[in-house]
């Protein structure tokens, strides 16, 4: 291994390791069956996104002849080769899991996948009717004479490729030709069969294969196989060139259907000849071809998992709990005026955040609402509240990020509705994605203008807030209010950026602030004062920040990292990082919060943030770093951070060689349950305590028992 190879992990391979951990949940026999199927679907869908976004970009670099090395010293070509090896292995495991473990067990959840040959006469007649009435009209066979005439495919959709044989026109003998049938946007993937008590289905591609000969009455079908191509979606949006961003984004949506391909998946039954034909037409190398031994596109099995039933096949329900800090009978603004409210979703319900915007929309004393929107849900109650607020004469400003990956179409639609209602809509800052989560309510009160704030680590999306672990801080702190307003003024272009006292914002001051905080820990350590760094982020990629953490480790500062996804930092290497510990928790909730704790000589500094520690977050996005100074909120965050490091069931430890292992259960210091379960039980306990003592004094969350 070269020196640079020792210092960092390659980010793509680290990402694949993360997806391996998701797959391990699908393989975990102690999990409920349908949840395992969901993890399988997530693994598959993650992999699709990875090929679209990351591999596509690398292929473009490789195609342009780039030999630029990444932080681990690998050229694009070397990276692509390594990715291909690892992704093939992952795909193999994925299908092993599906074919050997999950599909055979599906009947336990009253789900049956049937093959065409297994159908009863009645079922066969039924599928024949479905084929005639609903499928034939939607499937158009397109002849492919040469790679140039290959039809335009929608990325990640399934198509059939048919190899046909017919008598040659001019001379004796036979000629073969290829026909492609793109399924495109056919809404059916699983054709539900009439059956009793169970959900039975056949796959669309198998149904089409069964009747394929009917499309080609005078030809012989040599083979008919399903395939799926993944498109490269890594389109740099050239903001500097286009005047009208909205228009440009619409063009990008079109452009995304026409860019190069990153991966070909083809049914393992396909002949070498057909496989080569497809990879030639799509311009893909051998290493980009994945031969699939089962159904293509396992991400669709989400739907199947939803259709299943049966005792014990799903997780115990964990309904979000109402925070005892929020009294449903009083105005949310009164609550916030009395105390800061820290929520940790999904254990704490997201309702107070929705209420915050809804009450603001109706409150006659509210003058203005200013909010960033990145990804919202369909029929978002927050968008609806903003529209109502504007209609009620409030001054509503929204920064809508159109570039949120793959959500552009919905965001454009949402932005339109807001504009029509009279909301001032801004489409972010040129050249930067606005990723910060911030809502400001300006309210006129008897003692003067008061600002109520919500800072979050996750999106304003109440449906994902049931699944993503995120922190929310509701406060009316004066300093934060002043900073939040000046942050908003600068993002909307009403003002040049002004000095902020409490908040730090990327791309201007956030990186420097974090660097200062780490440097300070090194100083404290040198002066034999309390030091230590605990971070919770989704990804740690940025080489500068990693080097700083290495320096901290070398100075003797204890560094604990809770990183769900990519981690390019190599922990536990003597002389480099022996004081660094990395834990990754992959469990039923998606770990998404970004929390930072610096011991700072005993004067603990805690922050929440929208930013991951990646170059794109620190330098090319508008992000916020928010200090949490209120004692109770800070203590709760510290307790939350602590439990992840005590998780010996789901908390996988990153090893110096890049693998992740679950620590031995004999370790006595750990929790007796996974961190997420502990968090839920603890949230329940506190809620019950609060319910019992209907007093105004609330119990703080306690740190996990030692």
């Amino acid at each position: 291994m070269s020196e640079s190879d020792l210092r960092f992990f390659n980010r793509e391979l680290s990402w694949l390791e993360f997806n391996q951990r998701v797959l391990e949940e699908a393989q975990n026999i102690s999990l409920p069956l349908l949840e395992r199927l969901k993890f399988l679907a997530i693994t598959a869908s993650n992999l699709d996104e990875f090929f679209m976004v990351r591999v596509g970009g690398l292929q473009t670099l490789y195609a342009r002849g780039s030999k630029t090395k990444d932080a681990t010293g690998m050229t694009p070509n070397q990276q692509l080769a390594a990715i291909s090896d690892r992704a093939h292995e992952l795909t193999r495991e994925l299908y092993d899991c599906y074919l050997e473990q999950l599909e055979p067990a599906l009947p336990e959840a009253s789900i049956r996948r049937l093959r065409m040959n297994d159908l009863s006469a009645q079922q066969t007649q039924y599928v024949r009717q479905v084929f005639n009435d609903e499928i034939v009209a939607l499937v158009a066979p397109l002849a492919v004479e040469s790679p140039d005439s290959f039809p335009t495919l929608t990325g990640n959709t399934i198509s059939m490729c048919v190899r046909l044989e017919r008598p040659a026109k001019d001379e004796d003998g036979l000629e073969t030709r290829y026909v492609v049938l793109p399924f495109g946007r056919i809404p059916i993937r699983f054709v539900t069969l009439p059956s009793e008590g169970t959900y039975s289905f056949v796959l669309l591609e198998e149904l089409v294969e069964k009747f394929i000969a009917e499309f080609f009455p005078r030809e012989t079908v040599l083979e008919c196989v399903a395939f799926r191509a993944t498109r490269n979606a890594d389109m740099a949006i050239r903001e500097d060139l286009a005047g009208d961003l909205l228009k440009e984004m619409k063009q990008l949506l079109v452009a995304r259907r026409e860019s190069d391909f990153a991966r070909l998946e083809v049914s393992a039954s396909a002949s070498v000849e057909l496989t080569n034909f497809l990879s030639d037409c799509l311009g893909l190398a051998q290493r980009d071809v994945y031969r699939i031994p089962g159904p293509l596109d396992l991400s669709h099995f989400f739907q199947v998992a939803d259709a299943g039933s049966g005792e014990g096949n799903r997780y115990e329900d964990w309904p979000p709990l109402a925070s005892p800090l929020v009294d449903p009978t009083e105005s949310i603004f009164e609550t916030i005026a009395r105390q800061d409210v820290l929520l940790y979703h999904p254990y704490d319900s997201f309702d107070p955040v929705v209420r915050f915007v809804e009450e603001a929309a109706a409150d006659p004393d509210v003058l203005a609402i200013k909010q960033t929107l990145y990804r919202t849900s369909r029929n978002s109650p927050i968008l609806a509240a903003l529209v109502r607020a504007a209609e009620n004469g409030k001054h509503v400003t929204a920064i809508v990020e159109l570039k949120a990956r793959f959500d552009e179409a919905r965001n454009i639609e949402g932005a339109r509705a807001l504009e029509q209602a009279g909301v001032q809509v801004f489409y972010g800052v040129k050249g930067l994605k606005t990723h910060a989560k911030l809502c400001i309510v300006v309210r006129r009160e008897p003692q003067g203008i008061q600002r109520y704030l919500h800072f979050g680590t996750g999106n304003y999306n109440e449906s994902t807030a049931r699944l993503y672990s995120d922190a929310s801080l509701l406060t009316c702190n004066e300093d934060l209010g002043a900073d939040a307003i000046s942050f908003f003024n600068s993002v909307t272009g009403y003002s040049l950026p002004q000095t902020m006292h409490s908040l730090s914002a990327a791309p201007i001051t956030l990186r420097d602030r974090l660097a200062e905080m780490i440097e300070a820990e090194i100083q404290y350590k040198n002066q034999r004062q309390k030091s230590g760094i605990t971070l919770k982020v989704n990804s740690l990629v940025d080489p500068q920040m990693i080097e700083l953490l290495y320096r901290a480790s070398q100075a003797g500062v204890k560094v604990r990292l809770n990183i769900r996804g990519i981690c390019c930092l190599r922990p536990g290497v003597p002389g480099l990082s022996e004081n660094i510990e990395v834990v990754s928790v992959v469990d039923r909730m998606l770990e998404h919060a970004r929390i930072m704790h610096f011991r700072h000589g005993g004067d603990d500094r805690v922050f929440i943030s929208s930013a991951d520690w990646m170059g794109r977050s620190l330098d090319r996005r508008v992000e916020l770093l928010v200090p949490v100074e209120d004692d109770r909120s800070r203590d709760r965050l510290l307790a939350i951070m602590e439990c992840y490091f005590k998780d010996n069931l789901k908390g996988r430890r990153l090893q110096p060689d890049g693998t992740y292992i679950i620590p031995s259960k004999r370790r006595s210091s750990g929790l007796k349950m996974p961190a997420q379960e502990w968090l839920y039980r603890e949230t329940c306990r506190v809620a019950e305590l609060a319910a019992q003592s209907r007093q105004a004094i609330f119990e703080p969350h306690r740190a996990p028992e030692q």
Partner: protein, 534 residues
């Protein structure tokens, strides 16, 4: 500008009235390189709280200081910025004219197409821009910095020189025991210097020499005029964005809202470091805006020069800015009766002293004039501002004697017209000068230059005040301040001044005969003076 028609305010002493919610106001300052807005609240007790601050860059100074004219595109930039500020104002529900004060400083004032600019802004945005005279800027600056000076026990009793280096001008305020004793503005500004340097195409290696020469010429002149060379130490207080930036860089650990202290050596080293850097490098390395990067070096060199001339080894940097002062001004119900009045008067006394006035007589006449003013309130309906004008004119009515006895009232007028009295606009100064002029001899005539240019309202003010000053001056014709107390009664068409405890008033009676004609013409009252035995 016109005379305020409001009645003098009766200050209510009731404190148990329920406190009303704070008043939301906004101030906009159109400066040399930026248009800045602050939104603030004024509570019932007059304290202010800034709740929103905005700033956008414009190139007004760049154009005015070189081409003398604001270009069309810059005017439209200003319109666009002010329209965007309107949106922010709307979001706070600030819509009435009383809630908004918009001012412009030297860059607009010196533009030859000033009126075009102001009209265009008004048409496009309905915002009325007041172009401030430099001494008004000084007054507002002082309002802003005053509380800082008061809060610091050391500064409250020391002598301070407050220096604000702006883009177009530099203000100097000498403050002793919380009172402004001198104020002076010179047209030495950081952006002006930069533009001058560019238009003269000063070679890069000569830049420092050029700047230091220019700066020193202005600074030495100004300090000679305003700074008494009495060996007392002076604290140097610097205001302005350039110093705020320097403080952030050089004194990062200072406590919020306190004055940052920077030693001159540190500042020197910093200038040595940044002087060779190009504007682009400054922008990149220090995350400054371009306009801020352009003015940094000239401003820092100016304060260093002042410090060296005064022999002080450190400066204190205050965070306050023009908007803070404007908010304070909006907060003070009537600036003409509070602290500010004291500052103007003390600066008038200082002016008088420099001209060797009979201080006792001047102050006594002022006291008498104020007394008469108050007694005649129902007859003249003038406000507190007019009362201050009267006081100033009374204090300075003989200031021209140093130049020559013959026609000294006219000399007094010239002297006042050409002096700076702290915080007074040119118009205010003109009124004071005319009142002083008309304290003897000819009554105001339309042919008199200066007088004819006034609005009718202001002409009336001059007549009313000059009449009172004549009577007051007559009452101390003895120059002995023997008439201290008197009562006024109005009977039919006569003003009867009764002086207790004085027998022989013949001197004053003769004096009145000479001068009271204007009073009769103005108020329709003849003046009678008589003694009384208690």
């Amino acid at each position: 500008m016109s005379t305020r028609q409001t009645q003098p305010e009766i200050i209510s002493s009731g404190t148990d009235a329920p406190s009303s919610p704070p008043r939301l106001v906004a101030v906009i300052d159109i400066g040399t390189s930026a248009i800045r807005m602050a939104i603030g609240e004024i509570t019932a007790d007059g304290s202010t709280r800034t709740i929103d601050k905005l700033s956008q860059a414009v190139a007004i100074g760049k154009e005015t200081f070189t081409g003398k004219k604001i270009s069309r595109s810059t005017i439209e930039d200003c319109v666009r910025i002010l329209c965007s500020y309107r949106v922010v104002l709307d979001s706070y529900g600030i819509s009435s004219d009383e809630q908004l004060r918009c001012i412009a400083t030297s860059a607009v004032r010196e533009a030859t197409n000033r009126l075009v600019f102001l009209d265009r802004i008004y048409i496009a945005t309905r915002i009325q821009v007041d172009v401030l005279d430099q001494s008004e800027v000084a007054r507002i600056t002082f309002l802003g910095v005053q509380s800082t000076l008061k809060a610091d026990s050391h500064l409250a009793s020391a002598r301070s020189l407050v220096v604000e280096v702006g883009g177009g001008n530099t203000e100097f305020l000498v403050v002793e025991h919380g009172q402004v004793t001198f104020s002076q503005t010179c047209s030495l500004g950081s952006l002006r210097l930069r533009k001058m340097m560019e238009s003269l195409k000063t070679p890069v290696r000569k830049e420092r020499e050029f700047l230091e020469n220019q700066i020193d010429r202005f600074v030495s002149q100004t300090l000679q005029q305003i700074h008494p060379d009495d060996g007392l130490t002076t604290e140097l207080i610097a205001l302005g964005g350039d110093f705020r930036f320097a403080a952030k860089e050089l004194a990062p650990d200072r406590v919020e809202d306190s004055l940052a202290i920077i030693s001159i050596t540190t500042l020197q080293k910093f200038v040595d470091k940044i002087l060779p850097m190009s504007v682009d490098e400054l922008v990149y390395d220090y995350r400054l805006t371009f306009p801020d990067a352009e003015t940094l070096v000239p401003a820092l060199l100016t304060i260093i020069d002042v410090a060296q001339r005064l022999n002080v080894d450190q400066i204190r940097v205050s965070d306050v800015n023009l908007r803070d002062g404007l908010l304070k001004e909006l907060a003070s119900n009537d600036i003409w009766s509070g602290d500010f009045r004291d500052h103007v008067i003390s600066s008038a006394i200082d002016l008088g002293t420099r001209y060797g006035l009979d201080k006792a007589h001047a102050q006594h006449v002022a006291t008498l004039a104020e007394k008469l003013f108050d007694a005649l309130l129902p007859h003249h309906h003038l406000d507190a501002r007019a009362r201050v004008m009267l006081t100033l004119a009374s204090l300075l009515h003989e200031v021209g004697m140093l130049i020559g006895i013959s026609g000294y009232h006219k000399h007094s007028m010239y002297v006042i017209q050409n002096s700076e009295l702290f915080g007074l606009s040119r118009l205010d100064l003109q009124i004071v000068a005319l009142v002083a002029r008309y304290h003897r001899r000819s009554a105001p005539r339309p042919t008199h230059s200066g007088y004819s240019g006034l609005s009718r309202q202001d002409r009336v003010v001059v007549s009313k005040l000059a009449s009172i000053l004549r009577v007051a001056d007559a009452l101390d014709r003895s120059y002995s301040q023997r008439i201290r107390d008197f009562t006024c009664d109005i009977q039919k068409d006569r003003l009867i001044i009764t002086v207790p405890g004085v027998d022989d008033l013949s001197l004053e009676q003769i004096a009145l005969k000479e001068t009271a004609q204007l009073f009769e013409e103005t108020y329709g009252l003849s003046v009678l003076i008589r003694g009384s035995r208690a």
